[in-house]
């Protein structure tokens, strides 16, 4: 894995995230002023009006209220609220109602327990867990518009540096968009509790240059690599029921329950970010998924050592 960067919401790399940061500074300034003023008054009151020994037994003037003061400290907050509402409504509209330009890349994200499925309808690509999208030059924008669906329970897609989060809810279609303006790897994770392994439903978004993205998508569009050198592994895959859940394009495997494995080796991690994509981790995962991600929905297939080795070799051929 590359060194993860701080996923601070204050380090935006995309327009929605940037609009949110700008709004947040405005809101923080106003609430900051309110805090300073009210806290200062509180501190002053506590210090100035503390009961002194000399006053023991004497009651201070019994003041019941003041209509003018009440009006003042009702009107001022209402004005503050009006200002905040106006500023916020603008940003809501700008982000949510942004029209989709013809240049936009469309990706359908389907949330599963506990991994992410990505489909690129315009490109005929199906992949999992690591999202590749092109960088968006502000002068010639190429945003990515995401359609969010769920195959089971609720999830939430959250990459703090790219956008606020939007939930994936079964039987509902949600939409969001991002236009990352610099290349790089952006991290996040599922933000809506979805079951046992919610914590390890990690997100990796690779923002590529136009050339890199074209290269990546071309290779993703191909069927699985030739497997003549790993025939025993492929046979193990086909007989051990793997094909019921997984798809490897160009073979008989076309299951939809688990991630598409056609180009498994193009990914840096397995199990949706739970482990690095190394031979050792692959073997460990195949032997007992619960060792890496306890409660994940992949069963341990109870394979022999020989089968495991063969399978790992086969997996590693899926570039």
């Amino acid at each position: 894995m590359t060194t993860p960067a701080l996923t601070s919401i204050f380090a935006p790399a995309s327009t929605p995230a940037k609009s949110i940061v700008d709004l947040s500074f405005f809101v923080l300034t106003i609430t900051g002023i309110i805090f300073v003023v009210v806290a200062a008054l509180l501190v002053y009151a506590v210090v100035k009006f503390r009961g002194r020994a000399a006053d023991a037994g004497k009651e201070p003037p019994q003041v019941y209220g003041s209509t003018q003061i009440e009006v003042a400290w009702t009107v001022v907050p209402i004005l503050v609220v009006v200002i905040l509402v106006a500023a916020t409504a603008r940003v809501i509209h700008a982000i949510q109602d942004a029209p989709q330009p013809p240049s936009a890349l469309e990706v359908t994200v389907i949330g599963h327990q506990f991994w992410w499925e990505y489909r690129y309808p315009q490109l005929g690509i199906v992949t999992a867990n690591e999202l590749h999208i092109p960088v968006s030059d502000p002068t010639r924008p190429r945003p990515t518009f995401l359609t969010l669906l769920s195959a089971d329970t609720d999830h939430s897609f959250w990459i703090p540096q790219l956008s606020g989060k939007t939930d994936l809810i079964p039987n509902r279609i949600n939409r969001m968009w991002i236009d990352p303006q610099r290349t790089g790897l952006f991290l996040g994770q599922c933000a809506q509790y979805c079951g046992t392994q919610h914590a390890k439903m990690l997100l990796r978004v690779s923002v590529d240059s136009a050339e890199d993205f074209d290269a990546w998508s071309t290779s993703q569009q191909q069927a699985a690599a030739d497997s003549s050198t790993v025939v025993d592994g492929r046979r193990a895959f086909e007989t051990a029921a793997c094909i019921n859940c997984h798809t490897i394009r160009g073979t008989v495997a076309n299951g939809r329950f688990g991630p598409d494995l056609t180009h498994l080796m193009s990914r840096a991690t397995i199990a949706s970010g739970a482990a690095e994509n190394t031979a050792e981790n692959l073997r460990s995962w195949l032997q007992d998924p619960d060792a890496i991600k306890p409660g994940s929905l992949m069963p341990a297939m109870k394979l022999s050592d020989a089968e495991l080795d063969a399978l790992v070799r086969y997996m590693q051929s899926l570039r």
Binding site: T3, L6, I9, F10, S19, I20, L23, S24, V27, F35, V38, A39, L42, A45, F49, R50, G51, E59, P60, P61, Q62, V63, Y64, G65, S66, E70, W73, T74, P77, V81, L84, V85, A87, T88, A89, V91, I95, Q96, D97, Q113, T153, D154, S156, W158, S163, G164, T166, D167, I169, N171, R172, N174, G188, Q189, C190, A191, Q197, H198, A199, L202
Partner: protein
Amino acid sequence: MASDAMAIHGAQIDRPTWGETLHVWVTTVDHKRIGLLYILYALLFLVIAGIEALVMRIQLLSAHNDFVSPQVFNQMFTMHGTTMIFFVAMPILFGFGNYLVPLMIGARDMAFPRLNAFSFWLSAVSGFVLYFSFLGGSGLYGAGSAPDVGWWAYAPLTARAFSPGSSSDYWTIAVLVSGLGSVATAVNLIATILCMRCPGMTLGRMPLLTWLYLTMSLMVLIGLTPLSAAQLMLLADRYLGAHFFDTQAGGSATLWMHFFWIFGHPEVYILIIPCFAFMSEIIPVFSRKPIFGYPVMVGATVCIAFVSMSVWAHHMFTIGMNSYANTFFMITTMAVGVPTGIKIFNWLGTMWGGRIQFKTPMLFAIAFLFQFLIAGLTGIMMAAAPFDWQLSLSYFVVAHFHYVIVGGILFALFAAFYYWYPKVTGRMLSERLGQLHFWLFVLGFHITFDPMHFAGLLGMPRRIYTYEPGRGWDAINLIVSIGALIQAVAILVFVVNLILSYWKGARAGKDPWDAWTLEWSVSSPPPAYNFASIPTVASRRPLWDEKHPDDPDSRYE
């Protein structure tokens, strides 16, 4: 006379046996005893839910820790939240209400004493039902145990397909039954306040505590019941094959969310309003002035009650509602901040020009004001929906609501304990232990919940049993966990104070704080019948009128 002999020679009095005492307490219909039962019950569950929090904080001390499995962690946050809301906060606040309201309105008991007892036992049993899930939740498939679906139990995670076994049913039934108990207590409080005030106590002359409990109880009637309805629907889904939240059959997961939060948001106001009540009684007494702006305080509270019914979907800003819906809920959420702020200003106005006594109740009250102010302001931040698209479902919102619940509600409860303990027991709580409790708890509270905001700003979502190292979350989580341990110590000091002072505390007398409402006119503890004769009042502060016959409130109101 035999009775004289008993009075003089104490040793000749027959002390009740343990069995007799137990019988008295189990069969009591006296509002004071029932109030105490609620409070003790809640304190027990406070400790249990606190332990659940500590388990989570130990697990989160470092990245990839394995103190507990993900299954156990997920049960911990579900049980912690469910217990704290339904089996700590609700019972303890109803307990205080039960004890204080009849005394403060000059009545002998609540309107329906037997219903009162029934409500308590209903709530008590439901708490044990919830915890029985640890043993019995395996149900049909040997799966589950304690519920692990989060305290909101979002659909379709609670459907049979995703929650086999009975763990979700324990959550549903326990919370449903306790909800019935809460509604019954609310009915009781409303009938008591409207129908049993002593002569002269018009609605405009009753203590603010009573106004706020009246408002809170009305909110319970229409705020708690949506959850009960939704839970009946969930049970129908799980047991009768209904499809209310069955997304495979066209059902809607968001419908559960709407129903839940139509309950969930008023619920948090139901919890905070009694705490406003405590503050409105305590701050005046320790500032030696009447509450500033009594009518405005009433109006603001009623305003909060109404507006808070219209804000619920600010818990759902991320579910993909359209921009008009998001804007509407943003507006109402910002709006509810106005009457809430007005209350803070009025407490400030009460202290202003006063002679503040820094006894323990007032220390907790002052901390409440600072902390509730901050909590309200982070709430305003999240009302700005786009900002909430980042902050929601992260540790920022966890920090916000703990700031309200611990920094606001719990601090107000501590103030209430130190203030009314003398009335209930006849003994003062130790000031020295109280100060120790206060400063330790303030320290621990801020060490935990101040940095927690930053974990959210750095992208840490909630409800995760572990996290990746190197995200900038490691040090923050360590500090947060240390603060939790400090708070645990502070609670220990509090419990020691409660127990020790019961036997060793200074005798309190009727009115140790020189206060002004009717409960301070009877002995400490009050007799079973509360008042020898039902009093008549002529102002909001009947005892002030008594102590200052030359300058009574009745002249100015």
